[in-house]
């Protein structure tokens, strides 16, 4: 595993964050409910780098049509997703196969993308630029041409990296974007104030009952982890929960065979899984070629989840209630449908009542951070 180190610039970062999200963060501490932010040694945070990253993140010129930026699918007003789209729309409204995951708290992820095909945010940022259904560039050269010639970028890259001309590569571009993304941390939800802050009235009675189900009969906490001092609601693992794969069960031998026989090479995976819906449903298997990963996708965080419908890697479940019903059925959306052969061993019928399902949904609605609650109410 890559060595991560606590950033010296943490306080500076929070001053900057406070400017971006005035209601969110105190200037001196980690948001309630989150662990201290971790930054890679190789890419330390600086205010100038973060500002450059934000500019790059929002620059539509890095797409073949000049109409799509990172922010198109990761819109701050939508908790850095493109809710309510089921799957993302890139250039010319071309659609991919997967629901845009939030950037918020992505700095804590050990792997990036629904199938974990990138090891970190820096690597992740490379791929959408050249994916034909996202930003549609042939290669990264147009980006490099721009950042090497546009006066604002020339000045910024000089200041941040002390580099200019051909010394600027995609390494610097993606480092700046990742640095910006790592500032997007968000806690302080009603749940955090109740569980970590001791505010008895921060949750409703239904939400408190929902919490009990979350950690007991619902078995949710086993993957959406809550710890003694923090809760990221992720386990950095991949699970076949019966979404997507259920629709292609008869095709698995053909589709999986292409990967086992290496007809799809590792470098082709990014394009293949976003342009071919059936391949997409193989999940992490397309990356690792391990049977244990068939139909498996990364555990999503649940923070701000009430604001980012629809759900799951393919956006196929419209509401949080639909999601809970899917799990309650033991990994099938419609009760009685066949369970897929490769279902994760953690998924089984839960025998929750309608009231318990409602309470669980109520609990998830208590995971919204105040800065996003505000943007949501402005919609």
């Amino acid at each position: 595993m890559r060595k991560l180190t606590l950033c010296l610039f943490i306080a500076t970062g929070f001053v900057f964050l406070a400017r971006l999200m005035p209601t969110a963060l105190s200037e001196t501490s980690t948001p309630l409910g989150l662990p201290p932010a971790l930054y890679p040694e190789a890419n330390p945070q600086t205010p100038e780098k973060i500002a450059l990253g934000e500019k790059l993140f929002n620059d539509k010129r890095f797409s073949s049509t000049g109409e799509v930026s990172c922010a198109t699918c990761h819109d701050e007003k939508k908790v850095f997703t493109d809710s309510p789209l089921k799957v993302s729309e890139g250039i010319q409204k071309l659609t991919g196969t997967r629901n845009a995951p939030t950037v918020v708290n992505s700095g804590y992820f050990e792997k990036v993308f629904w199938d974990g095909r990138s090891p970190d945010l820096e690597d992740q940022a490379l791929h959408p630029f050249t994916n034909p259904v996202e930003m549609g560039l042939e290669d990264h050269q147009p980006i490099l041409d721009l950042v090497r010639s546009d006066p604002e970028y020339v000045e910024a890259f000089k200041r941040v990296f002390n580099k200019s001309g051909s010394a600027i590569t995609m390494k610097e571009v993606t480092q700046a974007i990742a640095a910006f993304e790592r500032t997007k941390i968000s806690g302080n939800s009603p749940f955090d104030r109740w569980y970590y802050g001791g505010e008895e009235n921060a949750l409703t009675e239904a939400q408190k009952r929902g919490f009990d189900i979350f950690i007991n009969q619902g078995r949710c906490v086993s993957c959406h982890v809550i710890e003694q001092t923090q809760a990221l609601f992720i386990d950095n693992r991949f699970h076949n929960v019966g979404v997507g794969i259920n629709e292609i069960q008869n095709d698995v031998p053909d589709l999986a065979g292409q990967y086992i026989r290496a007809e799809v090479t590792a470098s082709e995976v990014d394009v293949k899984v976003l342009t071919d819906k059936r391949s997409s449903e193989l999940g992490r298997f397309a990356v690792t070629r391990l049977f244990d990963d068939l139909g498996a996708f990364k555990t999503s965080t649940l923070r701000n989840i009430a604001l980012t419908a629809p759900y799951m890697h393919d956006g196929s479940l419209a509401t949080l209630r639909d999601v809970v019903v899917h799990y309650n059925n033991g990994g099938v959306t419609n009760e009685g449908d066949p369970v897929n052969d490769f279902l994760s061993g953690g998924i089984r019928p839960l025998n929750l009542t309608d009231e318990q399902i409602d309470d669980l949904v109520a609990f998830m609605e208590a995971l919204t951070s105040p800065e996003f609650a505000q943007t949501a109410s402005q919609k």
Partner: protein, 358 residues
């Protein structure tokens, strides 16, 4: 690092995963032998313990284990020449359980061989099992290797025929662990005589692979990780150059070398057992070269279960364990040391930390 470096890095990383897959799929058994034998692969699924509740209801967890192993074995490439099922298809030997299990096994796309387990046998002494799967012990030759299936879970006639008022009670007594009413497994005189004659026609340099449910060695008597006449069976095999015994029953990874005989266990699809050395209520003979795997995560029902495929090269086997929520492992015969060894974790400094936490 420039962009092409980054791409190359992730590419190499992915290629690493590819190579890993190529070398270790499921419980793949690879037999490697000298002389005229060819290299080939077969798969091995074992200990499904399909358990009937009532009506059309069966224990969901055990069903899922077998369904998943069968579905994954069907994806193997290169394709296996055949599949073994290593015994204990049923939990209490009923027709309902055997039928339900046979139905799931019928989805295998390969030629199929079956080994008798005590959970299949002690209700009707293998009668219905035979209708589904044929004889209780048999042999065949394949690409230069002589394969033998033994029924190793027999016991004394008095215990089997005279002691119990009902067949159901007999089944339950033999299914118990640490049960003073139980009885040690054995191959028995009649079958040993059959084996002696069967091996008479086999050349001494022909690789021999024996499949049994219980280990044809003595590990832990309380749970019948044990065959009482193991030494007599081993003696019949002692004159061959390459002998491997593959067994189920123990629901864990074990391997051992006794004289010319390599022993390797296969995983269960149902549940894991603890290693005798960690249970330790009775003297344990757990083979010294076995590296215990890390124990089950309590949330993931499939963890610490699995299945395997076996590549045969030059008459020796390389057993590839396909493990869920766990790192896949390969235990292969090492010609230099003359014993089976875990390819990655044999030396203590290479062991992954959870393996010392059971």
């Amino acid at each position: 690092m420039n962009n092409s470096d980054i791409t190359r890095r992730s590419f190499l990383k992915d290629m690493g995963a590819l190579v890993t897959l190529g070398s270790l799929p499921l419980s793949l058994v690879e037999l490697a032998f000298a002389g005229s034998t060819k290299n080939f692969r077969f798969a091995y699924i074992s200990d499904a313990h399909i358990q009937h509740i009532k009506g059309t209801k069966f224990v969901r967890n055990w069903d899922r284990g077998l369904i998943r192993a069968v579905a994954e074995a069907n994806l193997l490439q290169p394709k296996p020449d055949f599949v073994l099922f290593g015994g204990d298809l049923a939990q209490l030997g009923t027709k309902a359980e055997l039928d339900h299990g046979a139905e799931m096994l019928a989805k295998l796309k390969y030629k199929f061989y079956c080994v008798m387990g005590e959970h299949d046998y002690y209700l009707d002494l293998g009668k219905y099992w035979s209708e589904l799967f044929g004889p209780h012990y048999y042999s065949w030759d394949h690409k230069g290797v002589h394969f033998v299936v033994l029924n190793s879970i027999l016991t004394y006639d008095e215990w089997t025929y005279d002691r119990w008022p009902t067949a159901e009670q007999r089944m339950l007594e033999m299914a118990g662990l640490d049960n003073p009413n139980g009885s040690p497994f054995m191959v028995g005189e009649k079958q040993r005589e059959w084996l002696r004659k069967d091996l008479e026609k086999v050349k001494k340099d022909t690789p021999v692979v024996v499949f049994s449910h219980s280990p044809i060695q003595k590990i832990y008597k309380g749970w019948n990780f044990w065959t009482d006449d193991a030494e007599e069976v081993q003696a019949l095999l002692s004159s061959f150059v390459d002998v491997t015994v593959v067994y189920g029953h123990v629901h864990q990874i074990q391997y051992n070398q006794l004289g010319n005989i390599s022993f390797q266990s296969v995983m269960a699809t149902a549940w894991p057992w603890p290693y005798p050395q960690s249970y330790a209520q009775a003297e344990s003979y757990l083979p010294k070269i076995t590296i215990p795997m890390n124990r089950a995560h309590p949330f993931f029902e499939r963890d610490a279960t699995g299945w395997q495929f076996i590549d045969i090269e030059m008459g020796r086997i390389a057993m590839h364990y396909n493990l869920y929520n766990n790192t896949n492992r390969t235990v292969a015969y090492n010609p230099k040391t003359g014993q089976p060894e875990d390819k990655d974790y044999q030396s203590p400094e290479n062991r992954i930390s959870p393996q010392i936490h059971y």
